[in-house]
Amino acid sequence: MECVFGMVGKGFALVVADTSAVNSILVHKSNEDKIMVLDQHKLMGASGEAGDRAQFTEYIQKNVSLYQFRNGIPLTTSAAANFMRNELATALRKNPYQVNIVLAGYEKETGPSLYFIDYIATLHKVDKAAFGYGSYFALSMMDRHYHPDMTVDEAIKLADQCIEEIRSRLVVAPQNFIIKIVDQDGAREHSWRRTTKE
């Protein structure tokens, strides 16, 4: 019942993810951070098989770092997205990673961008994206209320509406959510939406 969703606003991009770590009927923890900060201006929200998620996202993050050390400048968001897609595609017909990713990034030259990358290596550059059972509710909510060039407050309000919808309509809804934002000042945690303390 994991959900990850994201949207692009005016000069920023937002990624929201649930923070539950679940194994069949047991909730291991409700404060698992699934949105990895790839580098100064990139966020990667990942959902799927827990082991694959950690393995794949850490591997991507270290390769993004290596590129920066080798070349003196960071990878563009588009380049990082395509690199990820390529890794997923190469592993697909041998030993697939079961990880779905929403990649958000900001560049001075091109502004904010959002990429939808699913576990069978589909890559789409989009304004809004969502994964998981929660995507049915999040996408519908965003289709109704999203408009281009939203302010941070408007986008957070929309994210809250999506979370509210997921909480009320999904049979086993996640307890807590984390919101991270990336803009010209960098990628950082924005806030949490908790129902439990842990």
């Binding site: 850490e58 591997y59 270290k62 390769n63 770092s65 290596l66 050390f69 080798r70 003196g72």
Partner: protein, 248 residues
């Protein structure tokens, strides 16, 4: 002759590995490089040849970072340096990936030295023609370190060291004048050591300072200011030496 020419680095009758010693010669012809360790900073300084007028100097970075907290300067064959630095950068990330911790300075030095040694004991390859000075801060403990490796693959930790052209004069200067310093004093000591063998001026020196916050390359203007300070101090010391004898 079929299989007797695989190995290039072989022992001489009196126990020398001549290829390694020739590699050390290549190092002695390389640019001067010096490193000084302070209590809260480690500084690297490298000689920059200023004769090339048409070259874009920003594309020739002599002091590189291997990770956020480790940097390297070298003397010798720069093309060999590229290969070693690339492998070291990959190892820094690989280490972080497998054990969730950044490398210690000693670990990455041991890795680079291990690579240099491997190439003295493998078929069909020659040793790397460079010595490196590796500086950094260990994660969590924030202890500053300075290490040196050479083509034979030996490495050790130093308070201050020099390699490349005229390294003996620089090392002598450091042995005479080294003391525990911090911050700007460490930078000054490094530049003073370099100025012993290099023409003075910001144009001919590249200096980088590693603190626990990370690596910072000094601008030419900053270096010029410090060089001017050093010259002024030298002139004052000369003047002070002369006046007492005139008074008696």
């Amino acid at each position: 002759m079929a299989r007797y020419d695989r190995a290039i680095t072989v022992f001489s009758p009196d126990g020398h590995l001549f290829q390694v010693e020739y590699a050390l010669e290549a190092v002695r012809k390389g640019n001067a490089a010096v490193g000084v360790r302070g209590t809260d900073t480690v500084v690297l300084g490298v000689e920059k040849k200023s004769t090339v007028k048409l070259q874009d100097s920003r594309s020739v970075r002599k002091i590189v970072n291997l990770d956020d907290h480790v940097a390297l300067a070298c003397a010798g064959l720069k093309a060999d340096a590229r290969v070693l630095i690339n492998k070291a950068r990959i190892e820094c990330q690989s280490h972080k990936l497998t054990v969730e911790d950044p490398v210690t300075v000693e670990y990455i030095t041991r890795y680079i030295a291990g690579l240099q040694q491997k190439y003295t004991q493998s078929g069909g390859v020659r040793p790397f023609g460079l010595s490196t000075l590796i500086v950094g801060f260990d994660p969590y403990t924030n202890v500053p370190s300075l290490y040196q490796t050479d083509p034979s693959g030996t490495f050790s930790a130093w308070k201050a060291n020099a390699t490349g052209r005229n390294s003996n004069s620089m090392r002598e200067f450091l042995e005479k004048n080294y003391k525990e310093t911090s911050g700007q004093e460490t930078v000054k000591l490094t530049i003073r050591a370099l100025l012993e063998v290099v023409e003075s001026g910001g144009k001919n020196i590249e200096v980088a300072v590693m603190t626990k916050e990370g690596l910072r390359q000094l601008e030419e203007t900053e270096i010029d200011v410090i060089v001017a300070e050093i010259e002024a101090e030298k002139a004052a010391a000369e003047a002070a030496k002369k006046t007492p004898s005139m008074q008696t």
